[in-house]
Symmetry: C2
Subunit: 129 residues, 2 copies
DNA sequence: TTATATTTGCAAATGACTTGCAAAAAGCAG
DNA sequence: CTGCTTTTTGCAAGTCATTTGCAAATATAA
């Protein structure tokens, strides 16, 4: 495992929330090239060391966010469109319902996306109201 | 209301599922410019005549999909990554849970995204297995 | 119909993400 | 350690959805 690879994985592990590639590349900018970040994130995801999802935020547009995959299963998140922090909503609670949909409609689910966007408690206060 | 606007809204209304801007622009290509499609979709959404969401499909990448907003509330969808058709999962059933999350975490939800991706029944057969 | 406001097309820009290619680093055998 | 093979990296350039500036065309108001 190369040092760029190690650094990226370490950064993902130390984060308590998903990070966008843009942000990650910025943080590692004097360590490696953005292209290397992209390539290694693919590598990490293919090797089950990381997971990602695509989220659209009004300020930052559409980006892919990554987290390290350490034991704990699939989580869902709330994203604050003011401070851009994520709040963990806990483990996935849709497995049952997805099975239901599968039998009901005959399709096979490969993946699912669920997230909330809005304003977090702290930002509500800072922005008054 | 201009004729481009009317044509776009008509197309959205006649569709029984969300359409990507790319697809919509292609369908209306000898009628108006893609830029006009983009601009009018923004107009329609701002005026509550259409809704949209961003979805990532392995084949087509990340795109925004639009539907006409005719009475019926917010729906969720399954997207087939083989034939790229959407299957309606019915009206939104998360309002209750979102209120729950709001009180639990103190944030205010402005929007939410939920969708499934996979292979539809027909495509499973065609692709054997 | 004329004046004013809005919309359209075209060309160019943006921004996330990918790709070709040659140099650099990592793995491996001796 | 050393020479050799494989993988990874950086750089430049490309792709693709979406946006923007600007002047011409169209719609709306007077
Ligand atoms: Mn954000
Ligand atoms: Mn698709
Ligand atoms: Zn916040
Ligand atoms: Zn299908």
């Amino acid at each position: 495992m190369t040092k760029a690879r190690k650094a990226i994985l370490a950064r993902l592990k130390s984060a308590k929330q998903p990070i966008s590639v843009t942000e990650l590349a910025k943080q590692l900018s004097d360590f490696c090239n953005p292209v290397t970040v992209y390539r290694n994130l693919h590598y990490l995801e293919n090797n089950n060391l990381a997971t990602s999802f695509v989220l659209h935020c009004s300020d930052h547009g559409t980006e892919r966010y990554y987290s390290a995959k350490e034991g704990k299963g699939h989580h869902h998140w709330f994203h604050c469109e003011s401070c851009h922090q994520f709040i963990d909503l806990g483990g996935c609670f849709y497995t049952e319902q997805m099975r239901q949909f599968e039998t009901e409609h005959g399709f096979t689910v490969h993946d699912h996306t669920f997230y909330l966007t809005g304003i977090c408690e702290d930002c509500k206060q800072e922005l008054g109201s």
